[in-house]
Symmetry: C2
Subunit: 197 residues, 2 copies
Amino acid sequence: MPNENLYPEHESLFNVFNSIYPLSDELKKAIVNESNIIHVEKKTQLLNAGETSNNIYFINKGAARVYYLDKEGAEITSWFLFENELLISVYSFFTGLPGFEYLETLENSTLIVLKREKLNKLYEKYLDFNFIGRKLTEFYYIRNEIQANELRVLTAKQRYQRLLTNNPKLLNRVSLGHIASYLGISQETLSRIRKQI
Amino acid sequence: MPNENLYPEHESLFNVFNSIYPLSDELKKAIVNESNIIHVEKKTQLLNAGETSNNIYFINKGAARVYYLDKEGAEITSWFLFENELLISVYSFFTGLPGFEYLETLENSTLIVLKREKLNKLYEKYLDFNFIGRKLTEFYYIRNEIQANELRVLTAKQRYQRLLTNNPKLLNRVSLGHIASYLGISQETLSRIRKQI
DNA sequence: TTGATTTTTTGACATTTGTCAAAAGTTGGG
DNA sequence: CCCAACTTTTGACAAATGTCAAAAAATCAA
């Protein structure tokens, strides 16, 4: 497979896509041409509330979070993303409307950036790419639904324990305050839960 | 448009699809050929936990819910669906694996049923149908994310008030117990909240 | 290393929500 | 129309979680 390392910066992305549906060389080339690689420092705001999410990011290296402000102005983290994951503000990116979410890197990161317009052009031109887009959307949707179910049913302690067993590496890379809001509990309660375990 | 009433039982479905992306006559015909119309009584179990969600349902008339059992065996409703909406067990249908969710009608209902295999065949044969599938998945995803966010941030009372303003008709069609579990609160608490308002 | 900044923990107390049991109300089939 | 089954409400109390303020610990840039 001489193609494997033709686009080293896009290797991880293509691996993700290929595991869903084989990518044609033409589509690969188009993706490489339309996207950019960027290096950003930790705490970079990739999107602010009120703006429209016009970019989709693939995390080659690093970490990021999606958050928004509640009524009192406190930051609520709704999602953490790491290597080989896609980063958008779901609402704003999918609707094309200004949204309420912020996107922020948590670590110095290497990202592949693709403009929403360009992604949509790819969807129009390469119809089988919609298959990949649909599958990825389904995949993230499932994760989101699991999260909603856990918020409904589990106690604060149980939610933390789930995170601990299902995503232990996350704890080393994300601050407690962010995790607390992600789990829908106060930082103090999470601190107390941790002591018990 | 002489085609408009060619398939009266599929009119609502095609309206939904057409509002996303124009449906070719050929695709319409294929959908009609591959799907069935069924009439089911209220409280019909369309899917049980442990089974694989092999059907997608479009609700022409009626109502349904998605639910699962928590550790104590109590029913937790995770979703209500009404006319012009699609009904699946997200996890099981998307992965093709046996799931944990039940699908149940809440009213006597008229449904369009399409087997997952047949849907996938349609996706393969009519690639632009993936565009519609992707958009619909995105749409339901957004709804799910809003729900997760509200479960994280809002108090029980606020979640009920949101439901009241955003979905008032739902209250006339769904029992309080189901709504309580959907909002992640006990039935007694919901009853007390209602009295306050 | 050090001092400033940020993050985490702790304590005391308030509030929200849950649980269990029973009563009241509602619904639908015979 | 009435009874049985189901749904909703109420009361008393327990448990979970939040809030505010302050202390302790960790982090990081100079």
